[in-house]
Each structure stands twice: as C-alpha cells, then as structure tokens.
C-alpha cells in the first residue's frame, strides 16, 4: 500500500521486444511505494492480422499471437502472484497508442511503463512521435524504461538515484511533488536546472552571478523538500543545450533515471518542452520518467 493506504497500479506495456520480465523485476522496488498491482498490456498491431487479399482477416494468426502473449504473461504473473502481488492482463488487437490510453483509463493506473516505441521515420513526420502523443493524451506519469545502463549493466533499481531536471514551470512543480511520494524507494535525488547560454548574455559578472545565485537558491529549496522526507539531495546548475546537458549530468552524477515534467495544454511551450521530453524518452540511455502537468497528485 501507499502512504495513503491505496494499492497503486502500474501498467506494464510490452511488445516483447524492448521490455521483458527482467525490466519489470527492476521495478519491484516500487512495492515500497505501494505499487502492488501490475497490469500487463500487449497490443497485437492491426496490420499483423489485417485483411489480406484472398485470405481475409487472419484469425488464425491473431489466435497464435494472442496465445503466445498469454503464455508469457501467465509465466510472469505466476511469479508476481506468488509474492502476494495483484496482477491483471490485457492482450488486445489495435493501435498501440490508443490501447495504452484506453487501458490506463479503464484500470485507473498510477504509472505507465513502456519501452521506446518509435514510428517509422516517414510516418513520424506526418503523425508525430508516439511518445509525445502519449504524453499529450494521458494525465498519468509515463516511464519510458531502458533497463540496460550505458555501462552494459542491468539498471536494477531505476528509482534509487533519479536525476530531476527542472525548468521552473508548473510541470516541474508537479514532477517534484510526484517524486516526493517515492521517499521509501529513492535514496538520493540529483536536482538540476539547465540554463541556456542566452540567459548569460550579459557582460556583467555581477549579473551573471546573480542569475546563478537565484537558480541555485531555487534548486536548494527543492532539495530541502526532499531532505524533509528523508531523501538525500544535491543540486547542480548546468549551462547549454537542455537535452545534452541533462544526459551529461545523468552520466556524471551516476543517476539511475531522468525525471522531468511535461506540459499538457499550452501549445507554444509544448513545442519546446515536448521536444525535450521526446528526445530524452527516445534517445537518452537512461530510463525517463515524464510527469504530465495536468496529473492529479496521488499521494499529496
């Protein structure tokens, strides 16, 4: 149970390519934060069973794919059930994005865990990024999980040492609030802000130092909030390209995950923040936890 006594649910989306059972096992530490219910979702993409000229709808193929997924889920579920966890499963034919969203809503989950699902380049040009689209359409935090670290080791506890990237938006505040509910899982949080070089265009050393001081003070205030719930925290200010600096910071601070807020409805900001979220989710070597701005805080 969570601190509020509620059993939290995690939707674990797998196409059996990027995320396997060991990826799920790496998240079992979340039980300490109340995540005792795992819902598996496998989507059989429509084009794999769609009508073919002369063959019609490939029902046999659907049954085969469904049963293969079922065998895997039964095996995984047995292991979780035996630990006293609650498990559910969905195997659905359709569009993956639509099914993630509908299942998350139906089950009222607290976290969506997915791998990197990229559309082919040409399709992405017209339809946009799947990750970005998912973040736009859900108010549930999304973990784009990569459980192999750049070092080649398995990331056994992604929530142990997150790097929290803040841009001082309302979405950032939500990310802080959300992460505070994981005090039983996180041992240390590294809080950073990436300022653009343009911020430092002044030629006055005093002015530049004032900007540095202001950001540092804000960062320290956030660190204090984490310390107050027993999480070790330190802060760092970076300058340069947002994505590059976040990735660099995660590497040099030995983070286990990158966390950030994403805006939901402000179109102009979304272009920038959405693109940072998308790049981190799809290109970063680290698991990326993205918290939509319009989410309801579960444990506040």
């Amino acid at each position: 149970m969570g601190r509020d006594g509620k059993m939290k649910k995690m939707l674990f989306v797998t196409q059996f390519d990027e995320l396997w059972f060991d990826a799920l096992q790496s998240l079992m530490d979340l039980r300490k934060a109340g995540f005792n219910h795992v819902v598996f979702l496998h989507v059989i993409e429509r084009d794999k069973v769609a009508m073919r000229r002369g063959k019609g709808y490939l029902k046999d193929e659907e049954v085969r794919l469904r049963e293969m997924a079922n065998v895997r889920f039964i095996d995984w579920a047995e292991e979780l059930f035996e630990q006293g966890m609650e498990v559910g499963a969905y195997i659905i034919v359709g569009d993956i994005l639509a099914k993630i969203i509908s299942t998350a809503e139906e089950e009222d989950v607290d976290l969506i865990v997915t791998g990197r699902h990229r559309r082919p380049k040409l399709e992405e040009l017209y339809a946009g990024s799947e990750t970005l689209e998912l973040l736009r359409r859900t108010s549930t935090p999304v973990l784009v999980h990569k459980y192999m670290l750049p070092s080649g080791k398995i990331n056994e506890k992604p929530f142990e040492r997150p790097l929290l990237a803040l841009d001082w938006s309302a979405a950032s505040d939500n990310a802080v609030e959300y992460l505070l509910t994981f005090s039983d899982v996180i041992s240390k949080v590294v809080v950073i802000h990436v300022a653009s070089e343009k911020t430092f265009k002044s030629d006055s050393a005093m002015e530049i130092q004032a900007i540095r001081k202001e950001n540092k003070q804000k960062l320290e205030k956030v660190c204090d909030a984490f310390r107050a719930v027993g999480i070790e925290a330190d802060s760092h200010l970076y300058i340069g390209n947002t994505c590059e600096q976040i990735e660099k910071a995660a590497q040099e601070r030995e983070a286990t995950m990158i966390v950030g807020g994403t805006t939901g409805s402000k179109p102009l900001k979304e272009i920038f923040l959405g693109s940072v979220a998308k790049k981190l989710a799809e290109r970063s070597a680290f698991p990326t936890l993205l918290i939509p701005a319009n989410r309801e805080v579960v444990d506040s």
Binding site: V39, N70, F73, I74, A77, E78, F81, E82, Q83, G84, E86, V87, G88, A89, Y90, E106, E107
Partner: protein
C-alpha cells in the same frame, strides 16, 4: 428451476465453452468478465457455484476468491478455479497474502488447470452442486 452457475473469465472462447457445458447439463449460466464484476454478481445472484479464472483485468481471481471467503454470506458458495495459472501459484499467493496480515482462507473446492475436457468439467460441477 435450473441452478445458477457463475463463470468469471475474460476469455470469450472459455466463456462460450463453459456456457455450452452448463446449458447441456441443465444449469443456468451467468457470466462476469473480471473479479470486480464477478464479486458484484455473486452478491446479487447468489449462484450455486462459481467457476473462476485467475489472471483477469481489474481484479484477479485470487483477490475475488479471498473476498468471497471473508464474506459471511458468500463463503459457503463452492468455487472451481479454472485457469492457466498453476494451483501451486494460487495457493502460494494466498499464503503470501496471509503473511501480510490477512486471515488464512481454505483451498477452493476444485482446481482445474486449462485446458479442460467438457466431461471433466461437467463431472466436477455435478459433484459440487448436488
């Protein structure tokens, strides 16, 4: 009057299969597609028997079974677990939940691992309902 038997399963093929077996043997089939809906239907319909899957959306058969066994009005309704999940897992999960502080629950009246032959299922039902 035909006795009501509730099947709780999310697989439409299994539902159709069990429904046929029940109808051919003179029972009145009821259906729920997850543990949450199943529990509500047990409370409302008080069936003579429940045929219960384990791995389902919303609420698993493991939790539904526990809730039935903790409910004074429902605990005596016999349950046949019909699932791809092994019996050993079902029992171990109940033990694990007991370790978390709940009271122990008895074993289900019958446990059949899928797939099942219609005759075998009909035989088990007949034994428990009569």
């Amino acid at each position: 009057m035909a006795k009501k038997i509730l099947t709780v399963d999310d697989d439409p093929d299994i539902i159709a299969f069990v429904k046929t077996v029940l109808e051919e043997n003179g029972y009145l089939p009821l259906v729920a597609r997850n543990g949450e809906a199943g529990l509500a239907m047990v409370r409302e319909e008080k069936p003579a028997l429940v045929i219960l899957d384990v791995l389902m959306p919303k609420q698993s058969g493991i939790r539904m079974y526990r809730e039935m066994k903790f409910d004074e009005d429902l605990k005596d309704i016999p349950v046949v677990v019909l699932s791809g999940i092994a019996k050993r897992t079902f029992l171990r999960s109940q033990e694990a939940l007991t370790e978390f502080g709940d009271d122990p629950v008895p074993e289900p009246e019958a446990y059949i691992e899928k797939p099942v032959e219609p005759e075998e299922l009909a035989e088990v039902i007949k034994k428990l309902v009569s």
